[in-house]
């Protein structure tokens, strides 16, 4: 009895009292799918590469990025960034400028000479890729990293497809495009230019290829009926862009009409201004809000003095107009939003007319492939990008999809994954997608108020006379700032809030990069950790009682 007066028990710690038995809901760490990742046509894990960029680890960020997309310097410039349209931060102040950080990482990689690494040992399989556009290049890249031997055959004199012959260089400087194509070649991909494949199966068999991926794009311009003798002053948009790319100077004259409402129409009008046209007028049958062209490009075109004639069509046919005159018919939208002719005509003077009415696919190389499903001039493919003919895969503009560089790059990646599985006789493992990280699950109070960084633009006078790049990139400081605007929706970024706010000291911190664990012996299930998690990476799950 050596205890003090009135003391009969030894002191004990409350750790013996397992308050976890009070719990009716259990905090559970989860990873949700950030809306940016969900929106990306190439399936980039944007939140993950921004996570590296936030701490200034640009090479790690770039490597995480190119797991999905081998051409970030290109897409950082020309992608219409559906990721940013989906970004949760838009509801807080403005979306994270993901494309600008992507472009910064892409340019940094070119400047520092970062190279790709193979992910798997050589498989001994050979794959033929037809077409060196974004889809073909992406497929070649992913297949090469997966250990396959890849040969790209390109009919044209240069690689890049529509990235080179469809997108003017003021939007995509050629040294950037060349550098990213060259880096794919460095991976051991064989690129044969001026090599048109006329018969696919014949080419495959003669080259002893185990599979083929066809991505020849859509290069045949749709033409309206043209009166004889007018061909000299009526051109199609792709030919104009192509001849500019090849160093020729198409004779467009002083006043140029462009007929169409897509991105190509905008590109050709802006190109015409740079070639010296005093007036470039886009004729479109609907209104600006119904234009398929991306609004930022419409705005840039307006800034450069391109003019628009909404609700107008060009009258085609024998009475289309005399020399240097074109007939325009006014349109009005009916109840369904479809343009209807009004019968009201107008004469407009112009030196030339450029048609930008869309493109068709030249499918003649597939004539020897049996059983293909062709619809609306494109080739049907399954969810695995394989055509009805086993071992023949297709992607890009020649399959039914939105026709953008990024969608094409995504097709290349997807096709490569399935070609790899097909060659190995496996079914590719597709992980279930996590539920999307909703804005409502974020606790946005914790994020610093920070407006979006603005990319500087070239002044107007230089935009009208040169093909210099219009939009500049971010510098290292602003790119870092922009990366740090990421909310990391639905994915833990180790802010320590859960570890701090637990009144029961029941969150265990596992160290940098290892995140946290709940100590279920003591967690009472109050839900403070979940409520105070900025990014919504903790769910409260009912206990089975």
């Amino acid at each position: 009895m050596d205890k003090p007066f009135a003391i009969t028990l030894d002191p004990g710690s409350s750790l013996a009292n397992h308050t976890g038995s009070w719990r009716t809901t259990r905090p559970t760490y989860v990873d949700h799918l950030p809306p940016c990742n969900q929106g990306c046509p190439t399936g980039e894990n944007i939140q993950a590469w921004l996570y590296h960029a936030e701490s200034g680890q640009y090479e790690a960020a770039w490597r995480a990025l190119v797991r999905d997309n081998p051409m970030p310097a290109v897409t950082g410039r020309v992608c219409y960034h559906p990721c940013e349209s989906a970004c949760n931060r838009a509801r807080l102040d403005s979306a994270v400028s993901i494309h600008a950080v992507e472009r910064f990482l892409g340019d940094e990689a070119i400047a520092k000479g970062w190279q790709f690494e193979a992910r798997r040992a050589p498989s001994g399989k050979r794959v033929l890729v037809v077409g060196a556009g974004p889809s073909g290049l992406a497929a070649a890249y992913h297949l090469a990293r997966l250990g396959h031997q890849v040969e790209i055959r390109e009919a044209g004199p240069m690689a890049g497809g529509m990235m080179r012959f469809g997108i003017p260089k003021y939007r995509l400087p050629r040294e950037v495009l060349d550098a990213e194509i060259h880096r794919i070649e460095q991976l051991g991909v064989t690129l044969k230019l001026n090599t048109k494949v006329d018969h696919l199966l014949k080419a495959r068999d003669e080259g002893r290829f185990d599979a083929a991926f066809v991505a020849v794009g859509a290069h045949v311009s749709k033409r309206a009926w043209l009166p004889a003798g007018e061909a000299a002053r009526i051109m199609d948009a792709l030919s104009v862009l192509r001849s500019v790319e090849l160093g020729e100077k198409p004779l467009l004259g002083r006043r140029v009409l462009v007929y169409g409402g897509g991105n190509t129409a905008i590109d050709v009008a802006r190109t015409a201004r740079r070639l010296g046209a005093e007036e470039a007028v886009i004729i479109y049958r609907r209104t600006r809000d119904r234009m398929p062209a991306h609004d930022s490009e419409v705005q840039e075109a307006l800034d450069e003095g391109v003019m628009f004639r909404w609700l107008s069509t060009i009258k085609m046919g024998a009475d289309a107009g005399s020399r240097e005159q074109f007939t325009i018919e006014k349109m009005m939208l009916d109840d369904t939003g479809f343009p209807q002719p009004t019968g009201e005509f107008e004469q407009i003077e112009a030196d030339s007319l450029v048609l930008a009415l869309g493109q068709d696919v030249d499918l003649t190389l597939l004539d020897d492939v049996p059983g293909l499903q062709l619809k609306d001039g494109v080739v049907g493919v399954g969810p695995n990008m394989m055509t009805a003919c086993p071992g023949i895969f297709a992607g890009g503009d020649m399959v039914p999809a939105e026709r953008t560089v990024t969608v094409a790059l995504g097709h290349g990646k997807k096709a490569a994954r399935h070609i790899d599985a097909w060659l190995r006789g496996e079914v590719p493992a597709v992980a279930d997608k996590h539920p999307v990280a909703q804005f409502e699950h974020l606790n946005t109070w914790y994020y610093t108020d920070a407006p979006r960084s603005v990319q500087p633009e070239l002044e107007r006078v230089r935009r009208e006379s040169t093909f210099d790049e219009v939009v500049s990139g971010l510098n290292a400081d602003t790119a870092l700032f922009e990366a740090r605007r990421c909310l990391s929706c639905g994915n833990c970024f180790e802010c320590d809030n859960c570890y701090g706010v637990c009144p029961d000291n029941a969150v265990i911190k596992l160290g940098p990069g290892k995140r946290f664990r709940i100590n279920l012996d003591y967690c009472k299930g109050c839900g403070l950790c979940a409520a105070e998690c900025p990014c919504g990476a903790i769910n409260m799950v009912p206990e089975a009682i």
Binding site: S14, V501, L528
Partner: protein, 329 residues
């Protein structure tokens, strides 16, 4: 401001930690080496603001004193849920005497340490609003006027919670408690009663008075660290929402503290020698009903019909705080 707020680092200094900041800029709570002064297994309710506030404050004091400190605890929830004989959750040198005498006991501990020449061992006293603003108020005022070398921390949850939610002199106007029922022509706690102890402490012209809340950890830690290194009587008043007594969801504890400060109902400031020296400005101002609506103790202001007159009186109180302490940026 007691600490330099850092911006543009994703969450800046708003979250507990931040991997993008230097180690030195992170909080004590973000470290695995924190003392966990109030450890697991205590019997506080789910989502207890007081348990959280006490660990925040004591861990910061343990860090700042390099664990050379003695804690004196008044009676109240904090003592009852942490130390049912013979068990305790405290991992600090800790003593408890009576409900109302914690400031006097702390004064004695400080005197004893001075006599023994242990100048490096600091004395901290703590209690709830009942033990501080009502029952221990005489002892506390004496400790202040003698400028005894004690840091007193009050965890204010605005009523006597462990005995069944009775009104204290810190209970806000209109709040329903067991002793201020929501009935009759003036439901809930009377308007025009109660006291705001930080201002009374300032009237003693002691070296340091500050308010803080569990919604702003960095501010709380910085104030404890600042106070612990000063000599003389010091006072910190921490707002700690109580899910039980306020009738709120257990996961809303921090949110309520945030709404109380962002509405201006609970001003966050520092005062030195009786003069306000700094105030934490409101970041996203909210009307008081956003704070009131989440709590059952104020439900009679909204149901069965909206009591716009009393809500306006409460809003006027918040507006007065905003003006008095210059809480708008």
């Amino acid at each position: 401001m007691s600490f330099q707020s850092v911006r543009f680092y994703q969450t800046g200094t708003y979250t507990v930690g931040n991997r993008l900041l230097d180690e030195a800029q992170r909080t004590v709570q973000a470290t695995v080496a924190r003392a966990n002064s109030l450890t697991s297994g205590h019997r506080a309710c789910q989502g207890c603001g007081e348990a959280l506030g006490a660990r925040y404050a004591m861990d910061a004091a343990m860090h700042a004193t390099e664990r050379q400190m003695v804690v004196v605890n008044a009676t109240g929830c904090l003592e009852v849920f942490s130390t049912p004989y013979p068990e305790t959750s405290w991992q600090v040198p800790w003593m408890h005497s009576l409900f109302g005498n914690a400031p006097a006991v702390a004064t004695g501990v400080a005197a004893a340490l001075r006599v023994k020449g242990r100048r490096n061992v600091r004395v901290v006293a703590q209690g709830g609003d009942g033990g501080t603003t009502d029952i221990g108020f005489g002892c506390l005022s004496g400790m202040f006027e003698r400028n005894d070398d004690v840091l007193y921390i009050c965890y204010d949850n605005e009523a006597y919670m462990n005995t069944g939610v009775q009104r204290s002199s810190a209970t806000p106007a209109a709040a329903h408690t067991a002793t201020t029922p929501a009935m009759g022509t003036a439901p809930g706690n009377e308007f025009g009663q109660g006291k705001f102890l930080p201002e009374i402490a300032m009237a003693h012209r002691i070296p340091y008075v500050a308010t803080a809340s569990v919604a702003d950890l960095r501010d709380l830690e910085a104030k404890v660290e600042e106070a612990i290194h000063l000599r003389g009587a010091r006072y910190i008043h921490v707002l700690v929402p109580c899910p039980l007594g306020w009738g709120a969801a257990s996961h809303d504890t921090i949110r309520l503290a945030r709404l109380a400060t962002e509405s201006g109902l609970f001003p966050i400031f520092e005062a030195r020698n009786g003069e306000v020296s700094d105030a934490r400005t409101i970041r996203h101002r909210v009307p008081v009903d956003e704070f009131l609506r989440l709590q059952k103790r104020f439900v009679h202001l909204f149901e069965p019909k909206l009591d716009t007159a009393r809500i306006a009186q409460i809003q006027a109180h918040a507006d007065r705080n905003i003006k008095r302490y210059a809480l708008l940026p």
